[in-house]
């Protein structure tokens, strides 16, 4: 039997507010343990929460940017479960009246467009961080430790419908969500810091069936690679179980990124009862149409719109436009390059080839690039103006990448890389090359027009790459 995978994602995203969701403590990452805490986020007896309005704003914007309906009346609930990283032993979350519902985003995989529906977006607080002396809380007789700095950092949980059918689709969806959250500037989306993490639900069903199979859940996946690996492994594992006539057990499994396998963690058969209760200490969140519309007006251009603009206004291919707008940082970098007056297609090529290659090799992101957008743009302008050739451009770029902080123009001048456009000077070199390369000249004259390539190469070499290639071509043709 052929099986089809059915995949749904619950994406947790930390919002980039400066203070926590229910108290005034700072949210900065990496502070010394238990220094960003107060009676409220420590859940001491007698404390009460107060809502950080920025959190509501960010959640509404995330909802609007993913085509959700914003609920004008929403509320917080207590999700009760005992765990020592949760000082109150409940998580303040939203249960039946989340801030946003019924959204969708478009993704593209292998040139195929697809829509993934969003069930809901809700606000909640993050828990603290546990450090065990053993491997788990159950085998840590020497103690477990908890850092409450992260307790109360605001999160939104974005829940998708089970609309994805492959690891590639799940990845594309998560990339799109990440891009949107970055564009609207509500989350840092630094996956390595846990800003953005996903719980994955995977089930299989016979192709053609519209009934959902039993699903398993993998929690806290925090890289795209782990996301794809976990899904692929789980699809294969479930397929083997089913093909051997077995049954999938509904359970939570952990993903071990090093071994690339998922492992059974706990069975969901005695499912947790969270005993949800409306949070009596927080009044409901009531939004007016005016407030919602004012948040909508504050939204910047979103990735899909930016992608279309690059195609329609700048004439870029759909592929190039897609790559350049996939992350907010890249799109902003590209826009900044264009601000210098650089040609769009040239700029696109430079960003997607030389810059991308260097960034990948150095494992840094575009906003950490040693070559900033302005200097790259100025270098591209020099090429367009004919001051340097593309080849020299690569040398200038390498110089800048390696730490030369001068402008492209100064580097070219200092190094004497200015392109020779003086016809007299080039003619002198051309004549010398013709004199020294009798065979190639003869080939050319015998009708092998391609032989001129070798001659051009010799002239360029002799000029240390500085001769204007077009002038070289013209002169060679004339003199031959």
């Amino acid at each position: 039997m052929k099986y089809e995978a059915v995949i749904g994602l619950e994406i947790h995203s930390e919002l980039k507010t400066t203070t926590k969701i229910f108290c005034g403590c700072k949210t900065a990452f990496g502070a010394e343990q238990n220094t960003q805490v107060c009676p409220v986020c420590l859940g001491l007896p007698g404390v009460l929460p107060t809502i950080n309005k920025k959190v509501v704003e960010f959640a509404v914007k995330a909802g609007l940017a993913t085509n959700c309906t914003i609920n004008k009346y929403s509320k917080f609930d207590r999700k009760n479960y005992y765990y020592p990283d949760l000082p109150k032993n409940w998580q303040t979350s939203q249960y039946d009246l989340p801030i946003a519902e019924h959204g969708h985003v478009d993704i593209e995989v292998n040139g195929e467009k697809k829509t993934v529906r969003l069930t809901r977006i809700h606000m909640e607080e993050d828990a603290g961080k546990l450090v065990h002396s053993g491997n788990t809380i159950k085998d840590s007789a020497a103690g477990s430790f908890v850092d409450y700095n992260r307790t109360g950092v605001p999160l939104i949980e974005i829940v998708s419908e089970p609309d994805m059918h492959s690891a590639a689709e799940a990845r594309a969806y998560m990339e799109k969500i990440k891009a949107i959250l970055e564009y609207i500037d509500v989350s840092n989306c630094r996956m390595e810091e846990g800003n953005l993490r996903a719980d994955i639900n995977v089930s299989l069903r016979p192709v053609g069936s519209d009934k959902l199979g039993t699903r398993t859940e993998m929690k806290n996946i925090n890289s795209f690679k782990a996301l794809e690996d976990a899904i692929n492994y789980e699809i294969e594992r479930q397929q083997e179980v089913l093909e051997d006539g077995g049954k999938i057990i509904q359970e939570t499994r952990t993903f071990d990124p090093e071994r690339g396998v998922t492992l059974s963690m706990r069975s969901k058969e005695n499912a947790d009862d969270y005993r949800y209760m409306p949070e009596p200490d927080l009044p409901p969140i009531v939004m007016t149409d005016e407030e919602i519309e004012s948040y909508r007006r504050e939204l910047p251009e979103l990735p899909d719109a930016a992608c279309l603009r690059l195609q329609n206004e700048l004439g870029l291919s759909a592929y190039d436009a897609g790559v350049l707008t996939a992350s907010r940082q890249t799109a902003q970098y590209f826009d900044a390059v264009l601000k210098t007056g650089a040609d769009a297609k040239l700029a696109a090529n430079w960003i997607m080839s030389d810059l991308a290659k260097n960034l990948n090799a150095a494992e840094i992101t575009i906003d950490q690039s040693p070559v900033d957008a302005k200097r790259l743009g100025e270098m591209i302008l020099l090429i367009s103006k004919g001051t340097i050739s593309s080849k020299i451009g690569k040398k200038v770029f390498a110089e800048m990448w390696d730490g030369n902080t001068d402008s492209a123009e100064k580097i070219v001048a200092d190094k004497g890389w200015v392109q020779i456009t003086d016809t007299g000077a080039i003619e002198q070199i051309v004549k010398e090359v013709i004199a020294k390369n009798e065979k190639a000249v003869a080939d050319y004259k015998n009708g092998n027009k391609k032989a001129i390539g070798a001659l051009v190469g010799q002239v360029m070499k002799a000029s240390q790459g500085k001769a204007n290639p077009q002038t070289v071509n013209e002169l060679l043709t004339k003199l031959l």
Binding site: P45, P49, Y82, P84, D139, S140, A141, V146, R275, M277
Partner: protein, 494 residues
């Protein structure tokens, strides 16, 4: 005249006129505590050292001729579920036996701004769950009017301290009657303001949507002054009301002419003690004689109030009390790992009544039962509130007994939780509807046990309550007195 019998407004005048120093006043109360506390057991923690120091500071201010805030130098007792910075706050539970809050409740900040002298943390039923103070994990508290009887609860320590000459006034908290019922049993004035009138920040939560802090005082005048001192919007409490509070002492006017009083028949039904009914009806009659208009009204959903309350309050309590797990504060009972430690701590350090309510609450919130219990209770709560909205279209205040009986005997009801719960029948509806209500003494029964008249008002209309209560108190003209503690049957520790 006995200093320890005076209300705050009398003592304030004496301090201003330098007829008395704050130190003398504090010393007088600690002398009284030394004499009575072994018998009464009103306190969990006494703050002798800090109180003495604070009194000296106030005397220095008096010497410098500084203007004195109203509660400057006045010895006040604080229920032990109100967080006091650097002073142990246990909620009368073993699980918080060693808990010293690093912060002050908003009401404490306000009282300290008034230069009040805090003399101690008053005993209570553990986590405010109970109506007799017998559920304190530490010791019982006795009723100063009859030492064989309970002081009521859960603010029993606060009421007994005020009645027994151990504090001039006190703060209590009221979730289903926990200020009014002990005030009635102990013959003092107890006011539960409108929900949200006083910040709950720093009040150890029992049932968040019902809890309200309020004053327990020797007369209505002090209740108005104390409400003035501690009320007001607090940005730390999202449920605290934005409305600006009036000066409640302006309501202290002896005039009830044309005041429309509703008497709900449902509050005088089965189970009410005949002497309580007689005293309350005669109090209502005296209002008529003072020019008020009395009408019988009906609050038909009253009969569901206890059932609704005993679903909503335990459900909220079940989650509010989840934080006591031994992890980062409070008492910890070790275990082989963290989960076992949490289980050991909670099962060994919560008392039986607290565990009972946690069980009830979790049951009501469980999947499959939520709609039938919790959700339905919320709906009936709305109906109970609507009864009051309709009633207040016709009348200005509603008068009822505060409790169906006078103070009962120690151990009389501890074996019968349901009967204990029914003691809340008259007080619970005001919490469910969020309305202000006051209990004022309206006489004693044939055994000399105090009886309380409850007056319930419109939301935010504490002024009319205070005016009615003040008028009644003035007409009665019986000054507050501390009873002789001579009918003791033994020490407070049992």
């Amino acid at each position: 005249m006995k200093i320890i019998e005076q209300p705050a407004h009398v003592l304030h005048d004496m301090l201003v006129k330098k007829e008395l120093s704050a130190k003398e006043l504090t010393d007088a109360f600690f002398a009284s505590i030394d004499k009575s506390e072994d018998t009464l057991g009103a306190f969990v923690t006494l703050m002798r050292g800090k109180a003495g120091k604070d009194a000296s500071i106030i005397d220095a201010k008096i010497a410098q001729g500084e203007e004195l805030p109203y509660f400057a130098g006045i010895p006040v007792a604080i229920k032990d579920n109100i967080c006091t910075k650097d002073v142990k706050t246990t909620a009368s539970s073993k699980i918080l036996e060693n808990f010293v809050p690093p912060y002050d409740a908003t009401v404490m900040t306000k009282l300290y701004d008034q230069n009040a002298v805090i003399i101690g943390k008053a005993n209570m039923d553990e986590f405010a769950m109970g109506g007799s103070t017998e559920h304190s994990a530490y010791h019982i508290t006795r009723n100063p009017h009859d030492l064989s009887r309970v002081p009521g609860g859960s603010s029993g320590g606060s009421a007994a301290a005020v009645a027994g000459g151990e504090a001039v006034c006190a703060l209590g908290s009221d979730t289903g009657g926990s200020i009014r019922q002990p005030s009635a049993y102990c013959g003092v004035v107890g006011l539960k303001p409108t929900y949200g009138r006083i910040s709950r920040y720093g009040l150890i939560a029992f049932a968040s949507s019902l809890d309200q802090i309020g004053p327990i005082t020797r007369d209505v005048t002090d209740a108005a002054y104390m409400l003035n001192a501690v009320c007001g919007h607090d940005k730390m409490d999202s449920t605290s009301l934005k409305e600006k509070a009036p000066d409640f002492t302006k309501a202290l006017v002896a005039d009830v002419k044309n005041l429309k009083i509703g008497v709900p028949k449902e509050y005088f039904a089965d189970g009410i003690d005949p002497q309580v009914e007689e005293k309350v009806r005669s109090a209502i009659k005296s209002f008529a004689e003072l020019g008020a208009k009395i009408t019988e009204i009906s609050l038909p959903h009253t009969k569901y109030a206890i059932a609704v309350y005993y679903i909503i309050a335990p459900a909220e309590a079940a989650t509010n009390l989840e934080r006591y797990d031994g992890v980062s504060y409070g008492v910890r009972v070790p275990g082989k790992d963290v989960p076992e430690m949490m289980i050991n701590t909670r099962s060994q350090k919560f008392g039986a009544e607290v565990k009972r309510r946690i069980m009830i609450g979790n049951y009501a919130l469980s999947a499959g039962y939520y709609d039938a219990y919790y959700l339905k209770a919320l709906k009936v709560r709305t109906l109970i509130s609507q009864d009051y909205v309709e009633a207040f279209n016709k009348v200005d205040v509603i008068m009822t007994p505060t409790a169906p009986t006078p103070a009962f005997k120690l151990n009389e009801l501890t074996g019968d939780p349901l009967k204990m719960y029914l003691q809340d029948i008259c007080t619970v509806p005001a919490n469910l509807a969020g309305l202000p209500a006051i209990s004022v003494p309206c006489g004693v029964n044939s055994q000399g046990l105090p009886i309380g008249l409850q007056i319930i008002g419109r939301a935010l209309d504490e002024e009319t309550l205070l005016r009615a209560a003040y008028t009644f108190e003035t007409a009665q003209g019986i000054p507050f007195a501390v009873p002789e503690l001579n009918n003791a049957e033994g020490g407070a520790s049992v």
